[in-house]
Structures are given as structure tokens and as C-alpha cells.
């Protein structure tokens, strides 16, 4: 049974970084990609709040604007931070799943 509100607990910054790992994207493409990979809808205020923070931390950078849309891409530091975070998450997920498997066996 799915617990309501559980998916909202996902970190938008992690979702944006994960999405940008596929290559440069502008705002709309990011929202659509995050919806497809995590079933989470980010509003424009949330998305640009996250992009702003990540930009200031040097984890993403803007590219030249295409008409009104400006794509963003992951920086080297952003890729490293994402890899580190995903490894930890993956380890937690593996342990959690193994324990669940043992408990429910």
C-alpha cells in the first residue's frame, strides 16, 4: 500500500541533478524528465529555487539561452556530488531491501 505524501519527501535537488546527468536541459524538459523518472511534479518556483541554489554552489551552470529558454548542465563538481550521494543512497537502498527480504522471508 502506497503511503500518501511519501514521494514528496524526495529531495528536489537530487532529482534535478539526476535529471541533468542525462545532459543539458531547460526548465520544462527538467520538469517532464523528473515526472517520468520519479513521478514527482516540481512547480516553477520550486524548480528555479533549486536551480538557483545549485548554481550558487557551483553544481550546475547555465548555458547560452535558446530564445527564451536557458538550458542548464551539470558541472564537474555537480557530477561528483551526485555520484557520492547516489552511492550512499544506493547502499542504504540495498541494505534496506535485503533486510526487508530477510524479515518477510
Amino acid at each position: 500500500m502506497a503511503v500518501k505524501g511519501w514521494q514528496r519527501a524526495q529531495d528536489p535537488a537530487l532529482l534535478v541533478l539526476t535529471s541533468l546527468a542525462a545532459g543539458p536541459m531547460h526548465g520544462y524538459a527538467l520538469i517532464k524528465d523528473i515526472e517520468s523518472i520519479a513521478h514527482v511534479t516540481l512547480g516553477p518556483g520550486t524548480l528555479y529555487g533549486v536551480l538557483n541554489r545549485l548554481e550558487e554552489q557551483g553544481l550546475v551552470e547555465p548555458l547560452a539561452a535558446e530564445e527564451r529558454r536557458r538550458p542548464y548542465r551539470l558541472t564537474g563538481a555537480g557530477a561528483a556530488a551526485l555520484r557520492e550521494r547516489l552511492l550512499v543512497t544506493s547502499k542504504v537502498a540495498t541494505v534496506g531491501l535485503r533486510r526487508l527480504g530477510t524479515a518477510h522471508a
Binding site: G49, N52, R70
Partner: protein, 330 residues
């Protein structure tokens, strides 16, 4: 342009200038795309308002300009401290409508029930904190006044406020004692100007000159009190406060927001405790907000909580901006 689209555009305009310079165009493109897809404009607007509030409070991504962060600190200090001017009338409403409510069944030694005692204590805490906040406000004003630009040409607003305050205080001090105690009935002309009305046979009608003057004085004081936050806001926005004023301002704001938070808790606690009292028995008294306030008590408590939240957000933003400003100097 449709209503919801206008709302979205207005929400986007609530972002700070530096943010709009950087992101506005691409955000507009994104909002256009989302709206064409049939997403709710209201939801988008609410999300934008939340983002705008975050951007204003945190200032993440704002240019590394000392002047900008100094101005941000000043604005945040105003947001943190000006709620005091709204808090004081609320305390007056609370004070006029709360208290121990009579002794039932004529018992002289009537006592409050336990919940009533708690309500009474909470009420005392609110008044105590209001008095402390007054002294903090005077201290804060004295520190702020030192930092305001000297010799600047003053507009009509500060003058009007000052004149209203001086005349109001004068009239109240001179006339109020007479206004309060002088007989008011035309049957008691002989008593006007004296401090007694006990010789009046009939219930007095109308106002004496002393009372008219006293009420005029009170009205002028109210005008001065209402104008004061605008005068302060205008004076602060027109000048660049020195670092020392910003630092002491941040401290005053912290104390203010803490006091407001305690007052909001105490007022809420008072309401809850009053509601928990049992029906008064013989020999018991009863604490409650009078019927004039009644169900509005919840709104009063909500107003206190809202002001406390606004002040806390302002304080948080002021302290953050001040630290950033100092870091930029280094």
C-alpha cells in the same frame, strides 16, 4: 489576458529584482509551456509565491554587493520590528476583553478554578511581555535614531506624527484627570472642574469640555501611533544605516521576535485554559474573555501568531543578510 494568467504574472513579479533579471524570461517560457499543457494557474501561482518568499528571505543567488545586502538587512529589520505597532493594539483589545469575570453567588472569598488560574497567569505573562516590549521599542528607537541620516529635509509625515504625539500627550495629561472624574450631567455644572461626581443625583449625559479635550488628545495619540511605523519605514528606507545600527537592530529584532513568540503562546494558552474551566460552582469565580470578544478570540490568537511568524522570518532574514554583508567586507 485571462484572470489566472494575470495572477501568474503578478506572482512572478513578487520575486526580487535581481532574481527577475536572472530568471524571469526563462520562467515565463516555462510557465507558458505548463499553462498550454493545461496545468492549474492557481497552483503555479501559489508555487511561485512560495518560491518568491523563499528568495526574499534567503536571498540565495543575490549579487555579492555589500550595498544590496545592507539594504536587505534594513528591510528585514523593518519587517521584524514593525509588527510591534500592530501587536500593541491587539494587546489593548485583549486587555479590554479579558479578566476575572465576577464572583458567583455573591461569595466574597471566591476563587478561580485551576484552569482559570492558569488563564489568569497567561494573561499576566502577556501584559508583562507587552510592557517589556515597550521598553525594548524605546531602546531600539534610540539606537535607530542615532543611525538615521541627520539634517535630511523632513516631509509632512514625520512632522504630523510628532505634532500629533506632542499635542495628544499634552491634552491627555492635562485633561484626562478632569475628564475621568468630572461630572458630565447638565444637572451637575457645579462640579465641572472638580474631581468628584459623587454629588450628582442623576446619571450624567454628554461630555464635559475636559472630556472632549481628553478624547481629542487620545485620538491624536492614536493618529501618531498609526503614523509612526510609516515614518520609521520611510526614514530607514531613505538612508544607509551604519553597521553598528544594523548590528544592534538585529539584536533588537531577535528580542522582539522572541517576545512576540512568547506572547502568541501565552495568548493561545490563555484561551485554551479559559475554555477548559468547569462551570462555576458556588464560591468560585470564573476567568473568561467577555462576550464582546467571544468566538473572535481565535482570530485574535491567530493574529498574534501571524505577527510572531512575520517577525521571526524578518529576524531570520535580517541576521542572515547582516552576516553575509559582513562576510562580503572580509
Amino acid at each position: 489576458m485571462t484572470g489566472p494568467a494575470k495572477l501568474t504574472l503578478l506572482s512572478l513579479r513578487t520575486y526580487p529584482a535581481w532574481w527577475q533579471e536572472h530568471y524571469r524570461e526563462e520562467m515565463e517560457a516555462l510557465i507558458d509551456a505548463l499553462t498550454k499543457e493545461g496545468r492549474s494557474s492557481l497552483r503555479i501561482s501559489l508555487n511561485l509565491l512560495g518560491g518568491s518568499l523563499r528568495a526574499r528571505i534567503l536571498g540565495t543567488g543575490a549579487p555579492a554587493s555589500r550595498q544590496l545586502w545592507s539594504r536587505r538587512t534594513q528591510t528585514a529589520l523593518l519587517i521584524a520590528t514593525l509588527p510591534w505597532f500592530a501587536m500593541i493594539p491587539l494587546v489593548a483589545i485583549f486587555s479590554a476583553n479579558s479578566g476575572e469575570y465576577g464572583y458567583f453567588h455573591g461569595s466574597q472569598g471566591a476563587r478561580l478554578p485551576r484552569a482559570g488560574v492558569y488563564a489568569h497567569n497567561f494573561e499576566s505573562i502577556v501584559f508583562g511581555l507587552a510592557v517589556v516590549s515597550f521598553f525594548i521599542a524605546v531602546f531600539g528607537w534610540s539606537r535607530l535614531h542615532d543611525g538615521l541620516a541627520k539634517g535630511e529635509k523632513k516631509g509632512w509625515l514625520p512632522r504630523a506624527s510628532l505634532v500629533a504625539a506632542i499635542f495628544g500627550a499634552g491634552l491627555v495629561l492635562v485633561a484626562l484627570p478632569y475628564g475621568l472624574y468630572t461630572a458630565t450631567a447638565r444637572y451637575c455644572f457645579g462640579n465641572i472642574g472638580t474631581r468628584t461626581s459623587f454629588h450628582c443625583v442623576m446619571k450624567p449625559h454628554g461630555l464635559t469640555i475636559a472630556q472632549v479635550l481628553a478624547f481629542t488628545g487620545l485620538a491624536l495619540l492614536v493618529v501618531a501611533f498609526v503614523l509612526a511605523p510609516f515614518v520609521i519605514a520611510r526614514a530607514v528606507r531613505r538612508c544607509d544605516l551604519p553597521d553598528i545600527s544594523l548590528r544592534s537592530g538585529s539584536r533588537v529584532a531577535t528580542v522582539f521576535s522572541t517576545l512576540f513568540a512568547f506572547m502568541a503562546v501565552a495568548i493561545s494558552g490563555c484561551g485554551v485554559a479559559a475554555a477548559l474551566q468547569p462551570i462555576p460552582l458556588k464560591g468560585m469565580s470564573y476567568y473568561l474573555e467577555r462576550s464582546a470578544l467571544g468566538g473572535w478570540y481565535i482570530l485574535l490568537a491567530a493574529a498574534f501568531v501571524s505577527l510572531a511568524v512575520v517577525s521571526s522570518l524578518g529576524t531570520f532574514s535580517a541576521r542572515r543578510s547582516y552576516r553575509r554583508m559582513i562576510a562580503l567586507e572580509g
